[in-house]
């Protein structure tokens, strides 16, 4: 882990100087950003990142408001909205009755009119009770009304497996929502992702599904001063190369990025240099970055926590086949969760979710350093 931090620091010193030079040309004089900023100053948790992003967007635009179960008095089921009720009052932080269909529909109605709601689902598993509003009322409205009704709404909440919560609290919905034209689907990993992508989502005029991860809320990440600035924003649809490599490309999103980075570390000791791509955005998918990376490394491993069939990895694999087939030196490897509803028992749960060794083995298979899957069948 330390190696990665040091490497990050190294990269950032170099790019910092270039960036600040570029800034001076691009920004107007009297800009609030510091001219020469130090690198890797603070560490904040993903929770703090989300909280600060919500706070800043709510103070910048009075049309932004937060709605969901327990977001107000309870400070948020996972404390993401801590302090917001106190600061903005009950008009802008609404504790709702228990009706996902109700408050998702009401949020969409408010967005139709022109407000910018942020609707929180306690987990995305419960969004299924509201999915008609997300898809039929939000995603399709701009198209079906021929641009007359835009829906600048953000649906956010934890997605995917937590720890010991069973099948109805652990499903990953990235593939479900990324299937629908009209929606944008974002999956932050680090604190920087969380801040930048949530701000971008709130400012975006289209409906955005923002998939967080409960286990990442408490994790700390180093952030630069630029990230902490209130105008910081990440572009939607751009993936980030977390670690450069030349032998195999590993794509991942959300919690799996951390696992992929650990796997890359293990692989580097065995002489395999893995390039880890943090997708950040599932729809639109950054096909350009993925394909450019595959054209460089010629091998691909996709990693996701969700169920394998019709998953995100399937779409990435197909995209690479469509655009970079000649560059592939090995079949695309797909690592996903087990094709079963998530079991509860801790040992079973561990086996149902990808682990670091699974990613390492898949990368080795792609590099022909390991026995192919078919042989073990």
């Amino acid at each position: 882990m330390l190696g990665i931090v040091r490497r990050k620091v190294g990269c950032e010193v170099f790019s910092a100087m270039k960036f600040s030079l570029a800034l001076r040309k691009v920004l107007p004089t009297g800009s609030a950003l510091p001219m020469n900023y130090s690198t890797a100053t603070k560490e904040i948790t993903v929770r703090e990142a989300l909280n600060s992003a919500l706070d800043e967007e709510m103070s910048a635009d009075p049309k932004v408001f937060l709605m969901g179960e327990e977001v107000g008095e309870y400070q948020g089921a996972y404390k993401i909205s801590k302090g917001l009720l106190e600061k903005y009052g009950p008009d802008r932080v609404l504790d709702t009755p228990i009706t996902e269909a109700g408050f998702a529909g009401i949020g969409v109605g408010a967005a139709y009119y022109g407000l910018r709601p942020v609707v929180e689902f306690m987990t995305f598993n419960f969004s299924l009770q509201a999915i008609d509003h997300i898809i039929n009322s939000a995603a399709k409205s701009n198209y079906m009304s021929a641009g007359q009704i835009s829906v600048p709404i953000v649906f956010r909440g934890p997605n995917g497996a937590a720890a010991g919560v069973g099948a109805q609290h652990s499903q990953c919905f990235a593939a479900w929502y990324a299937h629908v034209p009209g929606l944008k689907v974002l999956t932050p990993y680090s604190a920087e992702d969380a801040r930048g992508l949530l701000k971008a989502a709130i400012r975006d005029p289209d409906p955005v599904v923002f998939l967080e991860n409960e286990l990442l809320y408490g994790e700390s990440f180093p952030v630069s001063a630029e990230v902490l600035d209130s105008s910081f924003c990440l572009p939607i649809g751009k993936a980030k190369i977390e670690r450069e490599g030349k032998h195999v490309t590993i794509t991942a999103y959300s919690k799996m990025v951390g696992y992929a980075l650990q796997a890359a570390e293990i692989l580097s000791k065995e002489g395999i240099s893995a390039e880890v791509i943090n997708l950040r955005s599932i729809r639109p998918l950054d096909r350009a970055t993925i394909n450019a990376s595959v054209r460089k490394t010629n091998r691909l491993v996709t990693v996701e926590e969700g169920f394998p069939q019709h998953g995100v990895g399937a779409e990435i694999g197909m995209s690479v086949v469509e655009e970079s087939f000649e560059y592939l030196d090995a079949p695309v490897e797909r690592i996903a969760g087990a094709d079963v509803p998530m079991p509860y028992a801790a040992n079973l749960e561990r086996m149902a979710v990808p682990q670091v060794d699974n990613i390492v083995h898949a990368a080795k298979r792609a590099c022909y350093r390991s026995v192919p899957l078919a042989a073990t069948a």
Binding site: F65, D91, L94, T96, P97, T99, A101, G102, F103, A104, G105, I106, G107, V108, G109, A110, A111, Y112, Y113, G114, L115, P117, D132, H133, N136, S137, S141, N142, Y143, M144, S145, A146, G147, Q148, I149, S150, P181, G182, K184, D204, P205, D206, G237, P284
Partner: protein
């Protein structure tokens, strides 16, 4: 809950005393107690407060039934005995006025979340329904005359005539578009025959700033606000002048300019949308409300319940307008709910509700006018249940004679027609005539046929409209798809329809 019975009868007495009504119902209640000394199973105690104009609605202004018939003998005896005991004040002092003011005695109050609740030793279930249904507000009789005691919001001659004209236009438009679908010129249509009063009169009582969230049987609201026959036709034909750019089935009208949100097919989804928009209006401090329409069937959807509950809790200015037209495709209301229609559901959620005659344009106009004032002034939701009848089939994909009798349909089409009822009132005021009627119907028919011809001949939307509006900005993958599609069309011109612009 004999406490409830005690309250009901003492309340009846209290109300009778304070409002000094001498209606036979109230007298009947008191006299039966004095005369018989008991209330029997099956007795009905009527509340005298059935004045529908009072905005301050009394908490129990509906009929109260003493004992439901389906309890078994033992329960009836128990309830009777206990009711008798309570009514005769064995447990309380006489002449101490309204039961609500009573303090002390054996009744114990307890502080629960939400307010004080009385404990009672008797176990009494609230009946699921009352023997008499909630009364229905109406202004005009079948001859288009107001009743002697009718109270309604006054209408100017211009408004009344415009309302009548628009109701007739709606009727003619529905007939002609329906025929057009039968001729194969449009793919689908659904009519609002029988509900013209609801459509036009409710729109007339609103202002243009009030936002409308329709189901799909409310084109009359658009008509009132100024949507032209040509605009209706363009949407049905999906040509390039359609504001929906040809992306929706016919009758899915929408207009930003007229504050009418695009019709959406899933049932009842517009109800929570209206609440959300009303919340936005409240946050903006605007003097406007939202109104949302739905049918009797729509009240079964989960969205209806979530929205009503929410609106009451959030205190937003929204009018819930239920068009109880007796049928949800082939499901009659007897199979849709067991409650007394939708009006009691509003009350259950803490919302002021009223039932009105949906075929009486003046009743609809007055009720919506009053509801709008209440909603905006007090920032609260209102529920209006309008009783009416769906004279037409559900849509062009339905043949309703398969599940209901033609006699029933004919009866409502002729004897209860809202358009002719209102016509009689307007003519009675000297504001309309047979000549004007014939002229208007002929002109409308001609204009519609012309509009249909024009719409049919107008080009369809161009190819680029296939890809726009999925997102705010056209994303790169769709730009590429459009480029590839155009190349293919250029290479194979014979395979592409010549009348669709590229």
């Amino acid at each position: 809950m004999a406490g409830w019975f005690a309250r009901s009868s003492t309340l009846a007495r209290h109300l009778a005393r304070t409002s000094s009504m001498t209606s036979p119902a109230a007298g009947g209640c008191l006299s039966s107690i004095r005369r018989h000394g008991t209330l029997k199973a099956g007795d009905t105690v009527l509340s005298p407060t059935d004045d529908p104009y009072r905005h301050q609605i009394a908490p129990m202004s509906k009929t109260l039934r003493v004992v439901p018939r389906y309890y078994n003998e033992w329960m009836e005896t128990v309830i009777e005995e206990v009711s008798v005991a309570v009514l005769f004040g064995k447990e309380k002092k006489r002449n101490e006025g309204c039961g609500f003011c009573r303090r002390g005695g054996m009744k114990k109050e307890l502080d629960f979340p939400g307010g004080k609740v009385m404990f009672v030793p008797e176990m009494n279930f609230l009946p699921g329904s009352t023997s008499e249904r909630i009364n229905c507000y109406c202004v005009l009789d079948d001859n288009g005359q107001t009743f002697s005691k009718s109270k309604f919001q006054e209408l100017s001659k211009e408004d009344a005539v415009k309302m009548y004209i628009d109701m007739v236009t709606l009727q003619v438009m529905d007939t002609i578009f329906y025929e057009a679908q039968r001729q194969g010129r449009i793919s689908f249509y659904l009519t609002s025959i029988g509900e013209e009063a609801i459509n036009v009169a409710s729109a007339a009582a609103l202002k243009i700033d009030d936002i409308v969230f329709p189901q799909y049987r409310e084109p009359g609201v658009l008509l009132w606000r100024g949507f032209t026959l040509q605009e209706f036709a363009n949407q049905c034909f999906g040509n390039k002048l359609d504001y929906g750019k040809g992306r929706q089935m016919p009758i899915h009208y929408g207009s930003n300019r007229l504050n009418y949100y695009t019709v959406s097919s899933p049932i009842a989804t517009q109800i929570p949308h209206a609440v959300g928009a009303a919340y936005s209006l409240k946050m903006d401090g605007k003097k406007a409300c939202t109104i949302t329409y739905f049918g009797d069937g729509g009240t079964s959807e989960g969205d209806f319940h979530a929205a009503l509950n929410f609106a009451a809790v959030m205190e937003v200015p929204v009018i819930f307008f239920c068009r109880n037209n007796g049928w949800a495709i082939s499901t009659p209301t007897t199979e849709q709910f067991r409650s007394d229609g939708a009006v009691v559901r509003g009350q259950a959620y803490g919302i002021h509700s009223i039932r009105i005659d949906g075929n009486d344009a003046l009743a609809v106009y007055s009720a919506v006018h009053a509801a709008r004032e209440m909603a905006i002034r007090e920032s609260r939701p209102i529920l209006i249940e309008a009783l009416t009848y769906r004279v037409g089939h559900h849509s062009t994909s339905d043949d309703s004679t398969k599940y209901r009798s033609t006699d029933e349909i004919e009866h409502w089409r002729t004897a209860r027609d809202p358009v002719s009822k209102f016509r009689k009132w307007v003519e009675g005021n000297g504001w309309w005539s047979d000549v004007a009627e014939e002229e208007h119907r002929n002109n409308t028919r001609k204009e519609l046929l012309r509009a249909i011809q024009m719409a049919e001949r107008t080009q369809k939307p161009s190819l680029s409209e296939l890809f726009t509006d999925v997102y705010d900005q056209v994303p790169r993958n769709l730009q590429e798809q459009e480029r590839t599609l155009r190349e293919i069309i250029k290479k194979n011109p014979n395979d592409y329809p010549s009348d669709v612009p590229v």
